[in-house]
């Protein structure tokens, strides 16, 4: 029977390694007392979870968002938290992937039992999170753009300007220039999905037709084929719809291939990383965006000026670099969420109702007024038109 002893070894080794891995832990792994949703108790710290694109293709968005949330959480706790309760911020990196976002969200809901979730940075991961938070009934504020994130949602809100209003601003501007035909190069992920349809629909009202559509991955570095097709397209102007760095690299290829038509980009390039990626090719690009990046050029009568200036000062002091628009989206999400908790506590339904009742909230990306039907809260007024000049965004004189 010596043989039998030998055979014990491997199973025993497996057992030992597993047992070693799980020593000294006592947490419950069978979910919360109310079926896994938010914890409605009114004691202990308030838990706010965040799922952000901190690494991967969305890192240009997620990192400043992470910075902003950390800064604001610290400020809030220094001021004594919310109604005397400390706020615990738990940030998860989704690695800019959809399944990463879903895994992180599940973790936040089931293990951390958070009261509110902020994120994700981009549309795709935000869409992936949506069914999870809807099922678990956890109020969630996305910082991504696509209107599909909040379309018909009960528990999901968002703070970035809707793609619809961005496209409206672009098309309005183009119409003024007398353009009638547009070609599009869009992000192949969630952020770019449905954009062609929107342009077709909104363009029809303005006499602008979409003549060509190309797509690029956010991880792409070679845009030759797309730009060759754009050059061949019968168009007066071009929209490049993506985030940095890919939209910046696409812009560089656009100039290299010599397409030579005016370019509009989206609010996905509202940061300095765009200039790093596009280099000189950025010059003259027009993009609708929030007021943050042109704060120094705003009139004193601008209602957002005070909020924006203070945010820029705080952020620059904390991180030695000015904030991007995406930092602003996170700021708005945090402030709206915290205000609602202050008012309604952490009961999920009450909290959701409080967020829906947000009215005339002056944020970085605009002035928000939410309703049960409108979980986005911004209008076209939230956007200004900016032009890339000399390595920065400037307010476009109209």
């Amino acid at each position: 029977m010596h043989r039998a002893h030998r055979r014990l070894l491997i199973p025993a080794a497996v057992a030992a390694s597993i047992a070693l891995a799980f020593t000294g832990c006592t947490a419950s792994n069978f979910g919360g007392d109310n079926g896994g949703g938010g914890d409605a108790t009114e004691e202990g710290p308030i838990k706010i979870g965040a799922v952000l694109d901190i690494t991967g293709v969305g890192a240009n968005l997620g990192v400043p968002e992470q910075n902003t949330l950390n800064m604001l959480a610290e400020q809030l706790n220094e001021e004594g938290g919310i109604n005397g309760r400390e706020v615990e911020l738990i940030i998860e990196d989704n690695q800019s992937t959809e399944d990463g976002a879903a895994r992180a969200t599940t973790q936040l809901i089931e293990n951390d039992e958070v009261d509110l979730i902020i994120g994700a940075s981009r549309t795709g991961p935000s869409l992936a999170m949506r069914p999870l938070v809807e099922a678990a009934q956890v109020p969630t504020i996305s910082v991504a753009a696509n209107a599909a994130i909040v379309d018909g949602s009960e528990w999901v809100f968002k703070t970035a300007q809707n793609d619809v209003v961005v496209i409206e601003r672009i098309l309005d501007h183009a119409e003024e220039q007398g353009y009638t035909k547009v070609a599009l190069a869009r992000d192949a992920t969630g952020f770019g999905e449905g954009i062609a349809e929107l342009i077709t629909e909104l363009g029809a009202e303005r006499g602008i037709t979409l003549t060509a559509t190309e797509a690029f991955e956010p991880s792409a570095t070679d845009f030759t084929a797309q730009m060759t097709n754009l050059r061949a397209a019968d168009a007066d102007f071009v929209i490049i719809w993506g985030i940095t760095p890919s939209a910046g690299l696409a812009q560089a290829a656009y100039v290299q291939i010599g397409v030579g038509k005016p370019v509009y980009q989206s609010h996905g390039v509202a940061n300095d990383a765009f200039f790093e990626a596009a280099g000189d090719a950025a010059e003259g690009v027009i993009a609708p965006m929030g007021r943050l990046l042109v704060a120094d050029q705003l009139g004193d009568d601008d209602p957002q000026k005070e909020v924006i200036d203070r945010f820029i000062a705080d952020y620059t002091e904390a991180y030695d670099t000015p904030p991007s628009s995406f930092a602003g989206h996170a700021y708005d999400a945090w402030k709206i969420g915290v205000a609602a908790i202050e008012e309604a506590g952490t009961d999920p339904e009450a909290l959701r109702d409080a967020i829906e009742a947000t009215s005339d909230f002056v944020g970085i990306s605009g002035v928000f007024t939410m309703t049960p039907e409108n979980h986005s809260g911004l209008t076209a007024d939230a956007l200004i038109m900016a032009i890339a000049e000399g390595g920065r965004w400037n307010l476009l004189e109209e």
Binding site: M1, H2, R3, A4, H5, R6, R7, L8, L9, I10, P11, A12, A13, V14, A15, S17, I18, A19, A21, F22, T23, C25, T26, A27, S28, N29, F30, G31, G35, G36, I54, T55, G56, A59, D93, Q95, T97, E98, D99, G100, A101, A102, R103, T106, Q107, E110, N111, D112, G124, L127, A128, R130, P131, L132, A135, A188, T189, G190, E193
Partner: protein, 680 residues
């Protein structure tokens, strides 16, 4: 065990669905206990790791079967994982099918995809499957990313988690218990498979493909089946992944997932089923640990920093620890036992390692690796063998005259043609190795095939058995043309052979070798093997193998590793293996070479008795005198041409034959002639 404890006491049969050897039972029991306890004790982040380890253990088990049994690597295991996950998600989300149906769909879809790739890719040996699966991985990832139906970059989501008997599986603890039974059943199925007829056949293929095919193993078909099965495991893993993450997006098909799975198997130990499960836990722990550790050491490090650990571990394991974790456990255990000081036992234990409870299957495809892993023990074993030899010397010298003969099959009456060779020709470039050879072998006779060195005897032999394809000509066995087909085609009809350069299955013991000879008599396939529904059959064949060995005076070494026997006894073992087939035609390639005088006489006497029992025998032999004394008819080849064919007497006096032998080397031919005279 009591049932099998017969007087000889050496027969082991490990069959039945649930493992019936103590170690595996204890191993599985320990695993079950751990699985029951873990959710109560693990921290939430550990629980998360545990759940994903369980999920990834399934594709890892599949990959370990592929690497261990089929000797192949899939670099696109993630593709099958993703196909399973996507199919499951789509069936749930778009077709609103019940979970069970969707899950089965996921597994089946992955298996179908594997079949499609495996059918063309497994025909050539070597690294083709690895490359093809690598390509498949990228294609699957791109396809799901670009296809509207699969939700493009965002994927499929919103199908929720499963419910079991009305209980929603909505937390990690319950989910862990939800996956665990499938992992345990998968583990048991895989262990059963490695011990089954098919599993042992594949492990024989890895030792010697030619010998395995010569006992009737259809290598290609078994490989395709194992590959398909491996994809099935991956697909099932994908199903659980979809359930756990609740979204299936293109990232599941990414190359680094395939690398992770490969790493799990390599760390665990190539081809070890238990190792795959251990590997899954280790890699998940490593991944999570490094994600915390690296940014702490290197400030500002973000992203997939765990890759540095993957790279280092993968290189180090292959360089320093080719046997993986299983090897470590073995070495440690050997050291402990070594101190106990029972070396002979150690050797016996190692002999029993063939297809043992670990489900560990050494693999030639990863040759250098495994060979080195085993070297350490080899010396101790050799000593043991020598001791064993001395102890049983008496038995060896006994004659075989009185033993019961193994069964032979006699499909045609004595004297009727059983093998017909017509116009057999083999050309290598401009060289004609065998030129238009035609002869007929009547049943129940011994035919000798002789000729000087380089006359084409072995080439001729290889064409008859299917080891190589003829350039032209036909080989009919029992009226059916078998030329150019794989050796197993002839073997299943009762044509088998031994080898001049011994081809033993070194990963198993002597009895295991002879058991393989029973392959053509078995029926149980992969499915029956996995379910353990072949106990009676396997037991019967082990019994026959045991009896043959006992009859041939090899019973005393039945449980020693085949490679450790002295040359002469290995040769006898090959003959036993061939006889275990119950062949109708036995081809022996220089059976006398390397045997002592006494062993030769024994073998010759045995062959005569087998002939008298109705077996047809063809032997290629260098020893002309032996052939003349033994054979009923003799054929002589010279430079690829058949120069004489007839009874020994007429061949001996054929001038062409004498010239042929004289022509090569005067002295040798003369000596040869004198020998002939003497014999006459």
């Amino acid at each position: 065990m009591t049932l099998l404890d017969t007087t000889e006491g050496a027969i082991r049969s490990k069959t039945g669905f649930w493992p019936n050897n103590r170690a595996t039972i204890i191993g599985v029991a320990v695993l079950i206990v751990i699985i029951l306890i873990v959710p109560f004790t693990a921290s939430s982040s550990m629980m998360n790791i545990a759940v994903f380890s369980m999920i990834f253990a399934l594709p890892a088990i599949g990959l370990s079967l592929l690497m261990g049994l089929a000797g192949q690597v899939s670099l696109g295991q993630a593709a099958f994982f993703a196909i399973g996950a996507y199919t499951h998600a789509i069936l749930l989300q778009k077709f609103e099918m019940p979970g069970v149906v969707a899950a089965i769909g996921g597994g089946v879809a992955a298996m179908l995809a594997a079949l499609l790739v495996g059918l063309p890719m497994l025909r050539p040996r070597g690294h083709y499957l690895a490359l093809a699966t690598l390509g498949l991985g990228f294609i699957v990832m791109i396809a799901v990313r670009e296809w509207e139906f699969t939700g493009r970059t965002t994927g499929i989501y919103g199908f929720g988690r499963p419910e079991v008997f009305g209980i929603p599986i909505d937390n990690n603890g319950l989910f862990f218990w939800f996956v665990a039974p499938f992992v345990i059943i998968g583990l048991v199925l895989a262990l059963n498979l490695t011990r089954s007829r098919a599993g042992r056949a594949l492990s024989a293929v890895n030792d010697s493909e030619l010998a395995a095919e010569s006992v009737g193993v259809n290598t290609y078909s078994l490989r395709v089946k194992v590959f398909t099965l491996s994809a099935g495991f991956a697909g099932l893993g994908g199903v659980f992944y979809a359930y756990q993450v609740q979204i299936v997006s293109p990232q599941v098909a990414e190359f680094h997932v395939s690398v992770e799975l490969l790493l799990m198997v390599v760390i665990g130990g190539l081809g070890s089923v238990w190792g795959a499960i251990a590997g899954a836990f280790i890699v998940e722990l490593l991944s999570e640990g490094l994600r915390d550790l690296i940014p702490a050491i290197i400030p500002g490090a973000t992203g997939e920093v765990q890759l540095i650990g993957y790279g280092i571990v993968l290189i180090l394991v292959i360089l320093l620890l080719p046997g993986g974790l299983v090897q470590v456990v073995r070495t440690v255990w050997a050291a402990i036992r070594g101190r106990a000081g029972r070396r002979a036992d150690a050797a016996a234990a190692r002999a029993a390692a063939a297809a043992d409870a670990t489900g560990d299957v050494p693999t030639r495809a990863f040759g250098g690796l495994r060979a080195r892993a085993g070297d350490a023990d080899a010396d101790a074993d050799a000593d043991a063998v020598i001791e064993a030899d001395a102890a049983t010397n008496a038995a060896r010298t006994a004659d075989l005259d009185d033993v019961a003969l193994p069964t032979v099959s006699t499909p045609v009456p004595v004297g009727e043609p059983i093998l017909e060779v017509r116009g057999l020709t083999k050309r290598y470039g401009g060289v004609v190795a065998v030129d238009d050879v035609t002869f007929t072998v009547p049943a129940g006779r011994i035919m000798g095939l002789i000729g000087p060195n380089g006359a084409g005897k072995t080439t001729c032999f290889n064409m008859i058995t299917g080891a190589i394809s003829p350039t032209s000509g036909t080989v009919s066995f029992l009226g059916e043309e078998i030329q150019g087909r794989k050796p197993h085609v002839g073997a299943v009809r009762g044509l088998t052979r031994t080898f001049q350069n011994l081809q033993v299955f070194s990963s198993t013991d002597v009895e295991g070798n002879v058991y393989m000879g029973r392959y053509r008599k078995g029926r149980a396939g992969i499915l029956r093997g996995m379910l353990g529904l072949q106990g009676r059959e396997q037991y019967a064949h082990e019994r026959v193998a045991h009896d043959i060995l006992a009859a041939m005076r090899l019973g005393d070494v039945a449980s020693l590793p085949a490679g450790d026997l002295p040359f002469g006894r290995q040769r006898m073992m090959e003959v036993c293996r061939a006889l275990a087939l119950e062949p109708a035609l036995l081809l022996l390639d220089e059976p006398m070479a390397g045997l002592s005088g006494h062993e030769r006489e024994m073998l010759a006497a045995l062959l005569r008795r087998l002939r008298d029992a109705g077996l047809t025998i063809v032997l290629v032999e260098h020893d002309v005198a032996q052939v003349m004394a033994l054979a009923d008819t003799v054929a002589v080849l010279d430079e690829g041409v058949l120069i004489a064919h007839g009874d020994p007497e007429s061949v001996r006096n054929d001038p062409a034959v004498i010239v042929a032998y004289l022509g090569t080397d005067a002295e040798e031919a003369k000596a040869e002639l004198e020998e002939l005279e003497e014999h006459a």
